[in-house]
């Protein structure tokens, strides 16, 4: 994993030790970040529930929380940087794929294709995301403060078992519903002939994205399952060397 001395945060890496001695700045920043994100997603959750209780319908719900959602989901890009500079011990690629798929859904599907914003599948994945993110960020926060309540650890490593598939279902259904509108408007597509001799069909791109869930989702799911076995059940897993 790449680790450079950036932003003046010098790390003492003990190569034979699993736990790295992080600098105080890194810990302070991460704590702040995770608290902020927990708060953000809590705000989203409460806004969604308030809307539904007040209006009794989910139509218009997305529009009311769109800005907050876009803000907090986009900020999550910073987590890739955390992995890259080594203050968080996760693979850059795994985090990158997860964050990118979220950004893609928010900006390139629900934000761009207005007609599908009132679909139930959108509410489904939004609810899943909100629940998952609140659990995840509060887990990180308490972990950093060395005061992790067992129920949060339990939630983080068990709820994903149903949340993950539900979330994927919501996302896939949303993309599928969006397809006809993409076809009709020809959005984000380039056709031949043009002077750069290239073409891009957003419709087929979305189809490929949907198909790519088939190999990618199990990998992420089993990654979480392995983490669960390691953390909750204390199993030592011999990693397959590349």
């Amino acid at each position: 994993m790449a680790s450079t001395e950036e932003d003046g945060s010098v790390e003492e890496k003990e190569n034979n030790n699993k736990k790295r001695t992080k600098s105080a700045i890194a810990v302070a920043w991460l704590t702040f970040y995770n608290i902020a994100m927990t708060a953000g997603w809590l705000v989203l959750a409460i806004a969604m529930m308030r809307f539904y209780i007040q209006k009794g319908t989910h139509k218009g719900l997305y529009k009311s929380i769109a800005r907050t959602l876009k803000f907090f989901q986009t900020i999550a890009l910073v987590e890739v940087v955390h992995c890259a500079i080594g203050i968080v011990r996760t693979s850059v690629i795994v985090t990158g794929v997860q964050v990118c798929s979220r950004i893609f859904m928010v900006w390139f599907i629900t934000n761009s294709i207005k007609q599908i914003q009132n679909e139930e599948s959108v509410i489904l994945f939004l609810a899943v995301w909100t629940f998952t993110e609140i659990t995840r960020y509060s887990f990180y926060t308490f972990n950093l403060l060395n005061h992790l309540p067992y129920f949060i650890k339990w939630a983080r490593y068990n709820m994903f078992i149903i949340m993950y598939p539900l979330g994927v279902a919501g996302e896939l259904l949303t993309i599928y519903t969006a397809l006809p509108y993409v076809r009709k408007t020809g959005m984000l597509s380039v056709r031949l002939p043009n002077k750069y001799n290239v073409s891009f069909d957003y419709y087929y791109f979305l189809v490929i994205v949907m198909l790519s869930y088939i190999p990618l989702f199990p990998q992420l799911y089993f990654h979480m399952l392995r983490q669960r076995r390691k953390v909750l059940l204390g199993e030592i897993i011999v990693e397959k060397d590349e």
């Binding site: 031949l192 002939p193 002077k195 750069y196 001799n197 290239v198 011999v238 060397d241």
Partner: protein, 340 residues
């Protein structure tokens, strides 16, 4: 007689020495050969896999690998990595047992490198693929473009030129793989053939699709642009070839001695003064020429991705050169003079 036969085998000479030279008495050491004991342990599970006793001190790692292969036929020597330290580097095949920092009981950690495949096979498949795939698009075989264009020919001469350049490039690479390249490692992991072939074949198909498309738009600056680009392309192809010849001439067949490449009388090799891996520099130049010639975004993409990969390889090689040779010229950069 036996010692004579062994000596003849070792020097690779025919046994036709006329007058039997008076053999000096065998050195006293031969009477007191200290045989080594070799233990091979699995690097991950630490389980003892094999114990060999009475191993000649002059046997090489390759000999030990051969012996290990006999008892474990599924692990042929090419896929064995024997190490002194489980986290260390694999020992070289030609390392001799008695020169290693081990006592008379040597313990090696075994690491399975996975199924291996000859580098020649990989190189040839990754070159034949694009050659044939491009031609399929060039000749507009059925099911690629609309049926009315099947087997038709493009009306732009730059498309024909591009086909010639692309094909020339891969034919040159195939010939170089067969006759010129000398690679130190005999094999590479099997999954490399899938990785490499997907990369080359998919990109070739993607580029060929647009260049040979019936709706292809020729370059904006017309003849001037194409002519300049072709000259750059050919210049870099000749350059790349010169570098490959120079690198081949550095290594004598069978010798594993590494040498620093230097500029020769051939002007195309003068770039060695500034760059460690000019073969990659020229390769980049060729593809840049091809991009300008075809004015096709997928080609530009391929050039950029290739540039990133080659820079990573060049920097690795540059680092190895500097580690290996104390007096390595400091003016040289890995791939781009003074820049990268």
């Amino acid at each position: 007689m036996d010692t004579l036969a062994l000596e003849a085998k070792a020097t690779g000479q025919e046994k036709k020495s006329s007058a039997p030279r008076p053999r000096p008495k065998p050195p006293k050491k031969a009477k007191r050969i200290v045989y080594f004991e070799v233990e091979i342990v699995d690097a991950k599970t630490k389980e003892k896999l094999l114990l060999l006793d009475k191993v000649e001190p002059t046997s090489t790692i390759l000999d030990i690998k051969a012996l290990f292969h006999k008892s474990n036929p599924q692990w042929y020597p090419a896929r064995q990595s024997l190490r002194l330290d489980p986290k260390g580097k694999g020992l070289k095949d030609e390392d001799v047992l008695q020169t290693l920092p081990v006592g008379t009981t040597a313990s090696f950690y075994f690491f399975d490198l996975g199924a291996q495949i000859a580098w020649g096979t990989v190189f040839l498949s990754e070159c034949y693929g694009p050659l044939l795939i491009y031609l399929m698009f060039y000749f507009r075989l059925p099911f690629i473009y609309a049926p009315k264009y099947d087997f038709s020919s493009s009306k732009h001469w730059v498309v024909h030129l591009a086909c010639m350049c692309h094909s020339f490039h891969y034919v040159k690479r195939i010939l170089e793989t067969l006759f010129i390249h000398r690679i130190s490692h005999g094999t590479m992991p099997l999954r490399n053939i899938f990785k490499n072939c997907s990369y080359y074949w998919c990109f070739a198909a993607w580029m060929a699709y647009y260049i040979n498309h019936p709706l292809y738009t020729p370059p904006y600056y017309g003849q001037q642009q194409v002519k300049t680009a072709v000259i750059i392309f050919l210049f870099c192809q000749v350059g790349n070839f010169s570098i490959n010849i120079t690198l081949r001439n550095l290594k004598c067949p069978g010798s594993k001695v590494k040498k620093i490449p230097h500029p020769t009388k051939n002007p195309f090799t003068w770039i060695f003064a500034l760059v460690s891996c000019p073969n990659y520099t020229y390769e980049l130049g060729s593809w840049m020429g091809f991009t300008v010639m075809t004015q096709c975004l997928p080609v530009a993409f391929f050039t950029i991705v290739g540039f990133v990969l080659m820079t990573v390889w060049a920097r690795g090689k540059h680092r190895n050169y500097r580690k290996e040779f104390r007096d390595y010229p400091t003016l040289r950069s890995p791939i781009l003079p003074f820049i990268l």
